[in-house]
C-alpha cells in the first residue's frame, strides 16, 4: 500500500520535472509546426495578417507545377548525395592521420577543428573572396593561372557553383565528424590490432578488417547527422550566391526563406516547409530502417 502511494507521487514528481521541457517544446516547436501546416492552406501574405484566406490545396497544387521548387529539391538532394560521402571520408582520413600519439598532433587536431568553431557566415564570405572569378582578386584563380591553367568561374558558373559550395562545406564541416571518429577510434582496443598483425594483416588489411567494422556504429551516426544537416543547407547559398547563377544553388530552405520573407508569400513558404518536413522525416526513417535491417 505504502509502496504504491509512493509510486503515484513519484510519477507526479516526474511529470512536474518534465513540465518545463514539454512546455518549451510545445511553445517553440510543436505549436509553430502546427501553425506552419495551417498556414500552408492559406494565402497568407506577411504584410496582411488580418486578411488571411483559406485556400485549400492551392499552394500544394501550385508547388507541384513550380519549376523552381523542383530545382530546389534536385539541388538539395545533389548537395546531400555528394557532400555526405565526401565529408565523411575526409573526416575519417583526418581522424586516422591524427589518431597516432605522435608529438605535435594536438596542433593539427586544433587546426582541423578550427573551421568548425568559426561562424559559417564568416567562412562563406572568406571562400567567396577566394572563389572570385577574376585571377587578379581571387586566390584560387590566381593559383590556377600561375599553374598555366584557365581561370574557373567557380560561383559565377552554373556548372561549378554547387560543387564549389560542396567543397567548402565539407572543408568546414569535416572537423566535427573527425572528432567523433577520433572518439570511435579510441574505442577500438589495441588487442584487436595486435591479433590482426599476428595473423599477418598489413596496415591496409587491418584498416578494412578491424578499423572499419569497429567504427560501424560511429559511421552510421555520422552519416545520419550529416544527411540531416546537409538537407538544411541555407547559409552558403544565402551568403555566396543568392541561389544563382541560373538556380544552380537554390536549395529548399533557401527557397522557403526567399518565398516567405523576401517575397512575403508566407502561406506558400509554409507549404514548401511542410513538404520539406515530410522529405526529411522520411529520409531519416528510411535510413534508420536500413541501419536496423543491417
Amino acid at each position: 500500500m505504502h509502496k504504491s502511494v509512493n509510486k503515484v507521487s513519484e510519477r507526479k514528481a516526474a511529470y512536474i520535472f518534465i513540465l518545463p521541457a514539454v512546455v518549451l517544446l510545445a511553445a517553440f516547436l510543436i505549436y509553430p509546426s502546427l501553425q506552419t501546416v495551417r498556414y500552408a492552406f492559406t494565402d497568407y501574405n506577411i504584410m496582411r495578417p488580418d486578411r488571411i484566406v483559406f485556400c485549400g490545396f492551392n499552394n500544394f497544387a501550385e508547388l507541384f507545377q513550380d519549376e523552381d521548387f523542383w530545382i530546389a529539391v534536385k539541388n538539395t538532394l545533389y548537395f546531400t548525395v555528394l557532400v555526405v560521402p565526401f565529408q565523411t571520408v575526409l573526416a575519417l582520413a583526418l581522424a586516422l592521420l591524427i589518431s597516432s600519439r605522435r608529438k605535435g598532433v594536438a596542433i593539427f587536431r586544433a587546426a582541423y577543428f578550427s573551421p568548425q568553431v568559426t561562424s559559417m557566415v564568416v567562412v562563406a564570405i572568406l571562400w567567396t573572396v577566394m572563389y572570385n572569378s577574376s585571377p587578379d582578386s581571387g586566390l584560387l584563380n590566381a593559383l590556377l593561372v600561375n599553374l598555366g591553367l584557365e581561370p574557373c568561374g567557380f560561383l559565377n558558373d552554373p556548372d561549378t557553383a554547387m560543387n564549389s559550395i560542396i567543397f567548402m562545406s565539407a572543408w568546414q564541416g569535416a572537423g566535427y565528424q573527425m572528432m567523433i571518429f577520433l572518439a570511435g577510434l579510441q574505442g577500438i582496443s589495441a588487442e584487436q590490432y595486435e591479433a590482426a598483425s599476428i595473423d599477418g594483416a598489413g596496415k591496409i588489411a587491418s584498416f578494412f578488417y578491424v578499423t572499419l567494422p569497429g567504427l560501424k556504429n560511429v559511421i552510421q551516426y555520422v552519416v545520419m547527422i550529416t544527411v540531416i544537416q546537409a538537407m538544411k543547407l541555407f547559409t552558403q547559398p544565402y551568403v555566396m550566391t543568392k541561389g544563382g547563377p541560373q538556380n544552380s544553388t537554390r536549395t529548399l530552405v533557401y527557397y522557403i526563406y526567399e518565398q516567405g520573407f523576401q517575397k512575403r508569400n508566407f502561406g506558400y513558404a509554409c507549404a514548401v516547409a511542410a513538404i520539406f518536413f515530410v522529405i526529411v522525416i522520411s529520409l531519416s526513417l528510411g535510413m534508420k530502417k536500413i541501419i536496423k535491417a543491417d
Binding site: 572569378s133 541561389g243 520573407f261 508569400n265
Partner: protein, 430 residues
C-alpha cells in the same frame, strides 16, 4: 514534500521566464500622462545617433507635459534584419507610431494599409520646399505616405590620372553626358594592366535595381507601367532587352568585373564607377591621394532620356498610431527646414528641402553640385509598386543570370512574369 514544492516552483519560474518579454505592447501614455510617440529607424553612424539624442531632448523639453518622443535604433545588418522586425510587428499589431522605411518600400507598406497618408501633415507651401524626386518616391495612389530628409544620387566617378593618360575628356554639362557607346569606348580604352574600365555593380542585391533601372528609363522604357501593376512589356520590352545587352557587353568584353573587389575604384582597380553620392565623403576622408572627379550618368544613344537614380529612407506613420495630433507635431518637428539641414549635414547626404541648400553651400560647388543638379533635374525614383520586393529580387536574379550567359529576353521575361503574378495574386482585386 517541501522538495517537491520547490521543484514545482522552479518549473513555474522557468516556464513563466520563457514567456516574459513576449506580449509587451508599446506604451502609448507614460506615467506623467504625456502621449508617447515611438520612432523606429535603423541604427546609424555616431553623428546621426548624436543628432537623434539632441533633437529628442530638444523636442521633449519644448513639449513637457504633452508629448514624449522616444526612438528605438534598430540594427539593420542587411536590409532584411530590419524588415524582419517590422514584419513581426505587423503580425502582432505592435508597430511604432513612426516607422522609417527604405524608399521603394513606401508603396508596399502603403498598398497593404500598414502606413497612413500624410498629405495634411504639412501646409502646401511647406510641401513645395521638398524635392519632387523625394515626394514622387513617397507617393502611392495619389497620396503621400512618407517624408524623407535626405536623398541619394548616382554619377560616374572617374580616376583623373587614368583618363588623362588615356587622353579621354569627360563631359562638363549634363547635355553632353556620355552616351552608352561613348561610355563603352572609354571603358574599353581604360581596361589594361589589371585595371578594368568601369564598375557597374554597386552590390549584387538592391544596388542592381537602384543603379541599373536608369538604363531602362534612358532607353525610353522602365521596369513597370505607370500605376505599378505590371512589368510585362516594360522590363522585358525591346528597349529593356537592349539595355540589358549593353550592360552585359561591358561584363562579357571584360571592361567591368562581375565580382568587383571591395572599393575597386577607390583602390585604383577600376578607372570609373557608377557610384553613389555618399562616396564623395568616403573618398575625401579615406582616400586623399586618389585623384578623382565625377560626371553625369550616361544616357542611351540617339534620343536617350537624361536620368539618374534617387531615393532614400523616409519616415511614415503606421496604422497603430493612437495620438495622431502628437505624431503630426513630431513629424513637423523632425522635417522642419532646420532639422532637415542638420540631419543631412550629419549624415553627409543631399537634403530633400531646397531651402537647405542655402545653408549647405558645399552643394553649390563641384563635385557635390553635380548630385544636386541631377536630383533637381534628372532624378527618377525606383518603381512604385506594392510588388517591389518581388520585382527587385527577380531583376537582380535576371541580371546575374544574363551575366552568366542566359539569353536577356528569356531572363527578363521570367522576371516580368513573376512580378505580375505577385501583383495579380495580392493587389489586383484590392
Amino acid at each position: 514534500m517541501r522538495k517537491r514544492a520547490v521543484a514545482a516552483l522552479l518549473a513555474a519560474v522557468m516556464v513563466s521566464g520563457a514567456f516574459t518579454g513576449c506580449g509587451k505592447t508599446k506604451e502609448r501614455v507614460n506615467e506623467e500622462g504625456e502621449s508617447v510617440i515611438t520612432v523606429w529607424s535603423p541604427s546609424d553612424e555616431p553623428a546621426i545617433e548624436e543628432w537623434w539624442i539632441d533633437k529628442i531632448e530638444e523636442f521633449n523639453q519644448a513639449h513637457e507635459g504633452e508629448i514624449e518622443l522616444r526612438r528605438e535604433a534598430i540594427v539593420r545588418a542587411d536590409s532584411y534584419a530590419y524588415e524582419d522586425k517590422v514584419n513581426a510587428a505587423i503580425t502582432s499589431n505592435d508597430l511604432p507610431d513612426i516607422l522609417y522605411v527604405d524608399g521603394p518600400n513606401v508603396s508596399i507598406y502603403a498598398a497593404n494599409e500598414v502606413t497612413l497618408p500624410l498629405d495634411d501633415f504639412f501646409p502646401e507651401e511647406e510641401w513645395a520646399d521638398f524635392f519632387d524626386s523625394s515626394k514622387q518616391q513617397n507617393t502611392y495612389d495619389g497620396n503621400i505616405y512618407a517624408v524623407g530628409a535626405t536623398e541619394s544620387s548616382v554619377a560616374l566617378y572617374y580616376n583623373k590620372d587614368m583618363l588623362d593618360a588615356a587622353g579621354i575628356d569627360v563631359p562638363e554639362s549634363k547635355e553632353d553626358a556620355w552616351t552608352w557607346s561613348e561610355y563603352y569606348e572609354a571603358a574599353k580604352k581604360l581596361t589594361k594592366d589589371g585595371v578594368v574600365g568601369t564598375n557597374i555593380i554597386m552590390d549584387k542585391g538592391e544596388g542592381l535595381s537602384y543603379v541599373l533601372e536608369q538604363f531602362w528609363i534612358s532607353n525610353g522604357t522602365d521596369f513597370v507601367n505607370e500605376d505599378g501593376s505590371s512589368a510585362e512589356g516594360y522590363l522585358n520590352s525591346a528597349e529593356g532587352v537592349e539595355a540589358a545587352k549593353f550592360l552585359n557587353s561591358l561584363i562579357q568584353d571584360g571592361y567591368a568585373n562581375i565580382d568587383p573587389i571591395q572599393k575597386e575604384f577607390h583602390n585604383g582597380k577600376a578607372a570609373t564607377m557608377l557610384g553613389g553620392s555618399w562616396e564623395v565623403a568616403t573618398l575625401e576622408k579615406d582616400y586623399p591621394d586618389l585623384n578623382w572627379g565625377i560626371t553625369y550618368f550616361p544616357v542611351a544613344d540617339g534620343d536617350g532620356i537624361l536620368t539618374s537614380p534617387t531615393g532614400d529612407w523616409a519616415a511614415s506613420v503606421t496604422k497603430n498610431v493612437q495620438d495622431k495630433d502628437a505624431v503630426k507635431e513630431v513629424m513637423q518637428f523632425l522635417f522642419s527646414a532646420d532639422n532637415v539641414t542638420t540631419y543631412a549635414q550629419a549624415i553627409s547626404k543631399p537634403p530633400t528641402r531646397e531651402s537647405s541648400y542655402d545653408v549647405l553651400e558645399e552643394y553649390n560647388e563641384y563635385p557635390r553640385s553635380v548630385f544636386k543638379e541631377q536630383l533637381m533635374e534628372t532624378g527618377h525614383p525606383r518603381p512604385r509598386t506594392p510588388s517591389y520586393s518581388v520585382l527587385t529580387a527577380e531583376f537582380a536574379e535576371a541580371m546575374l543570370n544574363i551575366f552568366a550567359g542566359v539569353d536577356p529576353q528569356e531572363a527578363l521575361d521570367a522576371a516580368a512574369a513573376a512580378m505580375d503574378k505577385d501583383y495579380n495574386k495580392y493587389y489586383a482585386n484590392d
